[in-house]
Structures are given as C-alpha cells and as structure tokens.
C-alpha cells in the first residue's frame, strides 16, 4: 500500500507531460479530417483529466478510511479496557461481599442490637439509681419529678430503640443480605456481558475497517490502471498522427 502511495505522483507527472506534448502536436493540423481527430483527442484529454481527478479523490478516501479505522479501533479498544475494569470491579465486589462484607454487615446489625440492649439496661439502671436517690428526698419534689420523668422517657426511648434494633437485625438476616448478594451477582453478570460485547465489537470493527481500506485501495489501483491504459492509448494515437503528417509533407 505504501509503495503504491509513494509512486503515484511520479507516474502522474509523466502522464500529464505526455498529454501536453500530444496536445501541442495536434495544433498544427488544419483539414476537416484533422478537425475530427482533434475532437477525438479533446475527448480523450477530458476523459484522462476526469480519471485523474477520480484518482485524487480515491487517494483521499483511502486516507480517510485509514484514519477512521485508526480512531474507531482505538475507541473500541478503550471501551474494551473499561469493560474489563468494570467486570473486574463487579467480580471483586461480589467476591468481597461474599468473603467479608456479608459477615461485617451482619455483625454490625448484631452489635447495634447489643448496644441498644445495653443502652436500655443502662437507662433502666440509671432510673433505678435516681429513684433510689430521690426515695428519701422530701424537699426537691419538683426537681425529683422533672428528673424522674426525663429518666423514664429516656428508658422508654431506649426500649423502643432496642425494638428497632431487633427488627433491623431480622431484616438484615432475612432479606437485606440476600438482596444485596443478588444485586452484586447481577451487576457481575452484566459487567461480564459488557466485556464480551466489547471484545466482539472490537473484532467486528477491525474486520470492517480492513475491508473498507481494502476497497479504497482496490478502487485506487483500478483508477491508476485505467489512467495508464488511457495514456498508452493516446500515445499510440499520437504516434500514428505524426506518421501521417510526415507522409503528407513528403509529397511533391
């Protein structure tokens, strides 16, 4: 491909030079036969010029196809790399949760329950201590009432918090952990699917781009062959026309 690409300009220069010489030779004829010939020659010139332009375009299209192939393949490779990372991440999260996270979340919920139970026991003990403290107290009746009311309320809140912690543990054990596991499994499968799709997309794209470049090269080669053919044809014509002229000029 690169040898074709570099040899084209030299070939075209020589071709255009031949065409110009041929045109200069034609200008010296003057008969009606000569007029018809001139017309033919002009048509040949036009065809050659059109082919030359097509050749230029084909070269640009080849360049474009190569550039597009380069960019799109790079993009697809990046997508594939991202998909690999995503798949790895999903796998680590799933495995990490199974190996560590599941037990930690369960322990956290159990600790929460133990803490709540301890807090409720502390609140009950504090209330008992305050009740004992005020049992012999005759003077600070209002303070006693306020402090004991507050302490009883604290105990009630602590008991409700304990109930919530118990329910939380049941939820965690019952479905939260299973749900999370399934969610992570689903994410892992989805990421693996994404990775596979990205790999396939890259392979497909590479093939498509190879085909596109090959087509562009093929078109370019065909045009070059046509131009060469036309140039040879014209050279032959020009040689024939030169012989006739010499013969005419040689008659008495």
């Amino acid at each position: 491909m690169s040898s074709l690409h570099t040899s084209c300009p030299a070939f075209l220069c020589s071709l255009l030079f031949v065409t110009a010489l041929a045109g200069a030779g034609c200008a010296s004829t003057g008969s009606s036969q000569d007029g018809a010939k001139e017309k033919d020659e002009e048509k040949d010139d036009d065809d050659l010029q059109a082919l030359t332009k097509k050749l230029e375009l084909a070269k640009l299209e080849l360049e474009l196809a190569k550039l597009e192939a380069e960019q799109e393949v790079a993009s697809a490779e990046r997508k594939l790399a991202e998909a690999r990372v995503e798949a790895e991440k999903a796998r680590i999260e799933r495995e990490g949760f199974a190996a560590l996270g599941r037990a930690r979340e369960l322990d956290e919920a159990r600790l929460g329950l133990d803490r709540s139970r301890g807090r409720a026991e502390d609140a009950a003990a504090e209330l008992a201590e305050l009740e004992a403290m005020y049992s012999a107290e005759e003077f600070a009746t209002k303070t006693k009432e306020l402090v004991l009311t507050r302490s009883r309320r604290d105990l009630e809140h602590a008991r409700r918090a304990l109930d919530l912690s118990e329910r939380q543990l049941k939820e965690t054990e019952g479905y939260e952990l299973v749900g999370k596991e399934r969610g992570l499994e689903k994410e892992n499968l989805s990421a693996e699917k994404g990775l596979l799709e990205a790999e396939q997309a890259l392979v497909k794209l590479r093939l498509e781009k190879q085909i596109a470049i090959a087509k562009a090269e093929q078109e370019l080669e065909e045009l070059m062959r046509k131009i060469e053919k036309e140039a040879k044809k014209k050279e032959k014509k020009d040689k024939g026309a030169g012989k006739d002229k010499q013969e005419k000029e040689g008659q008495p």
Binding site: D122, A125, E126, E129, L130, A132, M133, Y134, A136, E137, E138, F139, A140, T141, K142, T143, K144, V147
Partner: protein
C-alpha cells in the same frame, strides 16, 4: 424532718414562686432546732465511718458520674474526709466524736495523697484544697496543736500543700480541670475553689508549711480580680467576663461564690470587702435563695437557672455561715436563724445531707458542710466530757 420544722418558731413562710415547688419552710429557726439537726448529722458521720477511719469509698459508686478519671473518686473521698474531720473538730465533743475524729485524722495521715487523674481531669486538686485547709484548722486547735498530733498534722498539711504548690496556675488560682494543650502546671482556675484556701494559706505560713507568701498573694489577687461590679464573683477569671442575660456571673448564679469569696478576701485582710459588702452578699443569698432551691438535687450540673448546680447549695451555706461569723457578734444569730431552715429542710431522716447526688463522698461532704454551718451558729454548749476551747484560727478580722 417536717416534725423538726414544726418545732421551730414558724413566723413566716417563704413564698417566692420558685420555692413553691418545695416544702414550706419557716423563715427562721432558733439554736435549739439547729442543735437538734446538728446532732443528727454528727451521729450520721460517726455511725457511717469505715473501719479504716475513712468515710465513703474512693471508687465510682453510681452510674451518674461515669466519665471522670478513676483517681478523681479517691480525691473526692480524701476531700470529703477532710471536711468530715473539720465537722467533728467543731462539734461539741463527745467520746464517740473525738474517737471518730482521731481515726479520721489517722486515715488522712496514712492514706496516700491523690494523684493527677488524667490529662484534663485534675480533680485531685480538691484533695489538696480541703486536705490542706482542714490541716491548718485542726493544727490550730489546742487539742491537736502539740505532741504527736502536731506531727501528724504537719505531715498532712505539708503533703496537701505540695498538691497546691504544683497546681497553682500562673495567674494565681486553683482549678480542677486542664485544657489543651495539657501541661504539668494547669492553666484554668475558679474563684470559688481558690477562695477555699486563702485563709488557710495565711495560717499555713504561720505554721511553717508554706514558705512563700507570694503563693497566697497571687491567689488573693486572683480571687480579687474575679469580683464583679454587681457584687457577684465571676466563675473564673476572664479578660472580658460574661455578664448579662442568664449568665452564671449574675448575682443569682453567684450566690454561693459570693459567700466563699467574700469570706476568703475579708479573712486575709482585703479592705474592699467591708462588713457592708458581707451583709450585702448575705442579703442577696437569702433574697435569691430560690435559685439554689431549684438547682438542688438536679443531677445535671449547671442545668438550673443562671447555670446553678445542685452542689452549689451546701457549699454556699457553709461559707455563708463563715461570713456570718465575720460580722459583729450581736447580729450573727439573726443571720444564722435565717440560714438554719435551709439546712434543716434538706437534711434527710438519718441526718445525712446531699445536694447533688447520693454518691458516698457527696453524702459525707454534704453532711459535713451542713454540720459545719450549723456548728458555726451555735453558742458553745456546756460539755459533759470536755469543753471545746475557742479556736485561735477563727476569723480574726
């Protein structure tokens, strides 16, 4: 307790709105009622002494004081033991009280001095303050001023003075917490804790326990700088004291500090604290007493109006009694008669008093404060055993 009050001269009943939450109290109580109440509190002290001669326990004995350093409970035990000894010293002597006092003093002599509890919690200073103050007063009593007892008190006085010497902040006061950046010599003090030892420092110099008079001078200046134009004493020394609104530095938040600071400054010769200033402080104490009543037995410090705490109550009444003793003799009984109802009304059936929590050290300290306040207002009894001589350490100014 209600029976005791019923025996008093029920002339007037306090009718302030905040006091309405509490039981009705006669405006005054005479020496007889005071003596009866004192007897119960002294009986409680005698009968609640430990085998070792100590009172209370040196460890956390309730859930409501979690968070302090372990050592602080021991320091408070030491401080409350010193107060209990003082209460027995000032009591009309009986063999049981004398024996309890001697056992208490031996324990104070033999027990180790408390140490700093943590970086921030230096409540061991309370051991220093009351250990030293008690030693100076007991050493000034002729019964203990000579011989072996003098040697015992020398040891106690010097030991607890060492705590004070190490913890006096550069500005001159003593406190019981330190702030970051924590330092060997703390940086925060309060007016009232510093005031508790001013007269004792002077006496300690006379006894030869305090070598440097500048310690007392710096402490006196510290307390003096806490005096506010409204007659109150700032909780602690600040460049710009917090005043106005419901500040603790309002007179209503300073009722007990006014007594201890006035007593201390007047006792060491501070001329600004005139007899009229003492009277004004006492008048404020009784006029606004409902703010101490409301805070009484509230287990959350500084929760009441003007940031009053329950433990201001008995502390303040003890020093109010000491202020009264600085006034001319003729007017003292009138003030003591107004003070007694507030001590008697909070005394429990068995004779114990506490104003904040029922931790063992609080009960010992509260009962001792109450007994001391009642003792100061009672004329000397004719003793069956031995007459208690007048102490030379009583206020001289």
């Amino acid at each position: 307790m209600r029976t005791v009050l019923g025996m008093g001269a029920l002339v007037l009943v306090l009718t302030a709105p905040a006091a309405a939450q509490h039981i009705e109290v006669p405006r005054t109580l005479g020496p007889a009622e005071g003596r009866e109440a004192l007897g119960r509190s002294l009986d409680w002290l005698v009968s609640n002494q430990n085998e070792s001669g100590s009172w209370a326990c040196g460890v956390l004995d309730g859930l409501l004081e979690l968070g302090f350093s372990i050592e602080s409970f021991y320091a408070w035990q030491v401080a409350s033991n010193a107060l209990a000894c003082l209460a027995l010293l000032d009591a009309p002597e009986t063999p049981a009280r004398r024996a309890a006092l001697e056992r208490g003093l031996k324990w104070l002599d033999e027990t180790r001095p408390p140490k700093r509890g943590s970086d921030w919690d230096i409540d061991y200073v309370w051991g220093g303050l009351y250990g030293f103050a008690a030693a100076t007063e007991i050493a000034s009593d002729p019964r203990f001023a000579q011989g072996e007892w003098r040697a015992v008190l020398d040891r106690i006085g010097r030991r607890y003075f060492a705590i004070l010497e190490a913890n006096q902040i550069p500005e001159g006061g003593w406190g019981y917490y330190d702030d970051p950046i924590f330092s060997r010599r703390p940086k925060w003090a309060t007016s009232f804790s510093t005031a508790t030892v001013l007269p004792a420092l002077e006496r300690g110099e006379e006894l030869g326990w305090v070598g440097d008079a500048k310690i007392r001078e710096r402490a006196t200046r510290y307390v003096g700088r806490c005096a506010l134009p409204n007659g109150a004493y700032a909780y602690d020394e600040r460049v710009i004291p917090w005043v106005g609104g419901d500040s603790i530095n309002d007179v209503k938040g300073s009722l007990s500090r006014i007594q201890v600071c006035n007593w201390a400054l007047h006792s060491v010769g501070e001329k600004k604290i005139t007899l009229d200033r003492l009277r004004e402080g006492l008048e404020n104490f009784f006029e606004h007493h409902r703010f101490l009543d409301v805070a009484y037995m509230d287990p959350v410090p500084h929760e009441a109006f003007y940031y009053n705490s329950g433990y201001f109550y008995l502390f303040g009444h003890y020093y109010a009694a000491r202020v009264i003793e600085l006034l001319p003799e003729a007017e003292r009984e009138g003030w003591h008669a107004r003070l007694r109802p507030h001590l008697v009304k909070v005394m429990r059936e068995g004779g114990a008093s506490t104003d904040f929590l029922t931790s063992s050290y609080m009960q010992v300290a509260g009962t001792a404060y109450s007994a001391l306040a009642l003792e100061l207002g009672l004329p000397p009894e004719v003793q069956g055993v031995e007459k208690v001589p007048e102490k030379p350490s009583q206020p001289r100014r």
